[in-house]
C-alpha cells in the first residue's frame, strides 16, 4: 500500500509537468490548428535564456519571468517570420517547417551553450514531505500543480469569457469568414503563437529541473509524452490536456514500478489504442465535433 501511494504521488508529479506542456500544445492547436513540433525546442531555447539571466543576476524569478517573456517574443517571431509564409494548403507543410525549426534551434543552442547538461535549479526545495513514512510531494511539485492549475483557469477564462479568446478560436476555425467579420486573423494567429510559446516556456521551466538538466534535446522525450497526453485528452480541451497528462504520468510510473521501466511505452500505446478506438477525438472531445 505504501508502495502504491508512493508511486501515485510520483506519477502525479510527473504527470503535472506533462500536463503543463500538453496545455501549450492544446493552446497552439486551438489558435492555429497546428501541432507545433517545435514547441519543445522553443521552450528549451527560452529556458536557456532564462537560466542565463538567473545565473547572471542571481535571481531565479527574474530568469523565470525572462524565460516566459522570451516565450512570448519567440512565439510571435516564429509566427511572423516563418509560419506566416508557410503554404497551409497541406497541413504537413507546417509540420515539416516546425521540424526544420527544431533542428535549427537545437543546432544553434549546441553552438552557443555546448552539448553538455547544465544544471537547472528549482526555485523551491525538491525534498518531498513525508507523512508516516510515506513520501508525498515536494514544495516544487506543489508549485508545479499550482502553475498548471493557474494556466488552465486563465486559458478557460480567455477562451470562454473574453472576446479576444473567441476571436482567436474563430480565426483558427474559419479564417476567411472571420476576416469578413472583421477579426484581425493575422494578429490573432500571432497572439496564439506567442501565448502558446509562453505556456511552453513555463512548462520547460517546470520540467527541466526535474529531469537531467538543460540540454538542447532536453524536451524531446517530454514532447512525446505531452503530445500523447494531449491526444489522449483531446487536443481541443485544456482540461483534457491536464487529465491526459496526469493519466500518462501515473501509467508510466505504475508500470515502471510494478512491471519494469522497459514495458512502460507499450502500456502507453495500449492505453492510446483503447481510448482512441472508443473516442477517436480524445477523452474530452465535444460530441461529433470533427477536427478540421
Amino acid at each position: 500500500m505504501d508502495r502504491f501511494l508512493y508511486l501515485t504521488f510520483d506519477g502525479l508529479s510527473r504527470g503535472a509537468v506533462y500536463a503543463a506542456f500538453a496545455l501549450a500544445l492544446v493552446l497552439i492547436w486551438r489558435a492555429a490548428r497546428i501541432v507545433n513540433f517545435a514547441q519543445g525546442a522553443m521552450a528549451v531555447a527560452t529556458a536557456y535564456v532564462g537560466y542565463s539571466v538567473a545565473s547572471a543576476t542571481g535571481s531565479y524569478w527574474l530568469g523565470f519571468v525572462v524565460a516566459i517573456a522570451g516565450g512570448l517574443v519567440l512565439g510571435a517571431v516564429v509566427e511572423r517570420v516563418v509560419m506566416r509564409f508557410v503554404d497551409h494548403s497541406s497541413p504537413l507543410n507546417g509540420v515539416v517547417v516546425a521540424l526544420g525549426l527544431v533542428l535549427i534551434i537545437q543546432g544553434v543552442l549546441g553552438m552557443i551553450y555546448g552539448n553538455d547538461y547544465r544544471p537547472a535549479e528549482a526555485p523551491f526545495s525538491r525534498d518531498a514531505f513525508q507523512i508516516g513514512g510515506v513520501t508525498l510531494l515536494s514544495r516544487f511539485d506543489l508549485f508545479v500543480f499550482g502553475a498548471v492549475g493557474a494556466v488552465v483557469v486563465l486559458l478557460t477564462l480567455l477562451f470562454t469569457r473574453t472576446s479576444t479568446g473567441l476571436r482567436m478560436r474563430a480565426a483558427a476555425f474559419a479564417p476567411d469568414v472571420s476576416r469578413l467579420l472583421g477579426v484581425p486573423v493575422g494578429g490573432m494567429l500571432t497572439l496564439g503563437w506567442a501565448l502558446a510559446a509562453a505556456v511552453g516556456s513555463l512548462a520547460g521551466m517546470l520540467v527541466i529541473p526535474t529531469e537531467l538538466g538543460l540540454h538542447p534535446n532536453a524536451m524531446d522525450l517530454l514532447f512525446i509524452s505531452a503530445f500523447t497526453a494531449a491526444v489522449l485528452g483531446g487536443l481541443d480541451s485544456p482540461v483534457g490536456a491536464v487529465v491526459g497528462g496526469l493519466v500518462v504520468g501515473l501509467l508510466l510510473t505504475y508500470v515502471s514500478g510494478y512491471l519494469g521501466a522497459n514495458v512502460a511505452p507499450m502500456a502507453v500505446l495500449i492505453l492510446l489504442v483503447v481510448v482512441l478506438l472508443s473516442r477517436p477525438d480524445g477523452l474530452f472531445s465535444k460530441a461529433k465535433a470533427r477536427t478540421a
Binding site: 515539416v96 521540424l99 526544420g100 525549426l101 535549427i104 487536443l235 507499450m266 482512441l276 477536427t291
Partner: protein
Amino acid sequence: MTIVERLATTTKNRQKSRQNRFVPLAGVLVGAAVIVVLTYTLPPFRNYQLATIGAYLCVTAGLTVLTGLNGQLSLGHGALMATGAYTLALWQDRFNLLLPGIVLAVVVTTLAGGVIGLAAARLRGPYLAGLTLAVAVVVPSITSTFDNTFNSDQGLSVALNPPPGVIPVEQWQVWICWAGALLTVLFLAYLVRGRFGRDMRAVRDDETAAKLAGVGVARTQVLAFVVSAACAGLSGALFAVLAQSVSPGAFPLTLSLFLVMAIVIGGLGRLTGALIGAFLLVALPSVAQSIAEDAGSQHLEGNLALTFFGVVLVVVMLAAPGGLASMKFPRKIRKQKGQE
C-alpha cells in the same frame, strides 16, 4: 484544392497530361538500366549510398501514397521498417535464404500494418499522428522486453552469403535494393492509376462524398495503410541487408519524422517526390557534415550540420510549398488548381 491533390488532377486529365502517356513499366526499365550502368561507374561508397537511396525509396514511395493520396499521416513507419528488418534478421539466422526471407519480412510487416491500419482508419489528423507516434517509440521497449529474441539495444546481426562470383559487395547491394525499389515503384504506379487509386483520392478529398459514391471509406484506408506497410517492411528488410545488422536505435522516432519530411520536401503524393526525398535522406546529412567540416571549428561541427539541415528544410518549404518535384512547372500547377 490542396497541392497534395495534384496527382489526382493529372489522372483525371489523362488525355491532357503528357506525363501519363508513358507506361510505368518503360520508366522503370529505363531506371533499371541507369542503375546498372551507375553501379559499374561509381566508386564503392557511392554505390553504398545509391543502395541506401533505393532502400529508402521503397518506404518513401509507400508513405507518399498513404499520406499524399489517401491523406493519412503516419509517424510510425520507422517501426514498420523495424518489423521487416527484425523478421529478416531472425529468418536469416535460421535459414539464410535471402529472397524468401525478404518476402516473409514483407508479409509479416503487412500483417502488422493491417492491425495498425484498422485502428488508423478510425482516426484523423493529429490523433492518427499521436497513435502512430506511440507505435514509433515502442520499438526499443519491445526489443528489451523480449530480449531473448531481439537482444535488446545491441540488436541482431544478419547472416548473409557473400555476393555470387566476383561482384563487389556494394554493387550487389545496389542491385538488391534497387530491384526492390523499382518493383515497389512499378507496383504503386499501376495501383494509383487504377480503381484503388481513385478510391483513395476520393476518400482523401471528401469522405462523405466518397461514401455516397459507394466507396468503402474504412476499407480503402485500411488497404492504403497495408500497402504502405508492405513497402516499409521491404525497405526495412533491405536496410537489414545493407547494414548486416538490426538494432532498435537504427529505427528511432527521428527516422519516422525524417521520412515524412522527405516525402513532403520531395513533393507529396508523387513517386518522383518520393525519389527526391529518398535522395535527400542520404545526401543532405553528408553534405551538411562536409560543409560544416570545411567551415572549421571542431566543437561546432555537429551542430553546424544540424543547423544547415534545418535551414534547408525551412527554406525549401517556403520556396517550394509543393515540394521539389513541383518546382519545374509552377504555372501548369496553378492552372490545374484552378480547374478543380
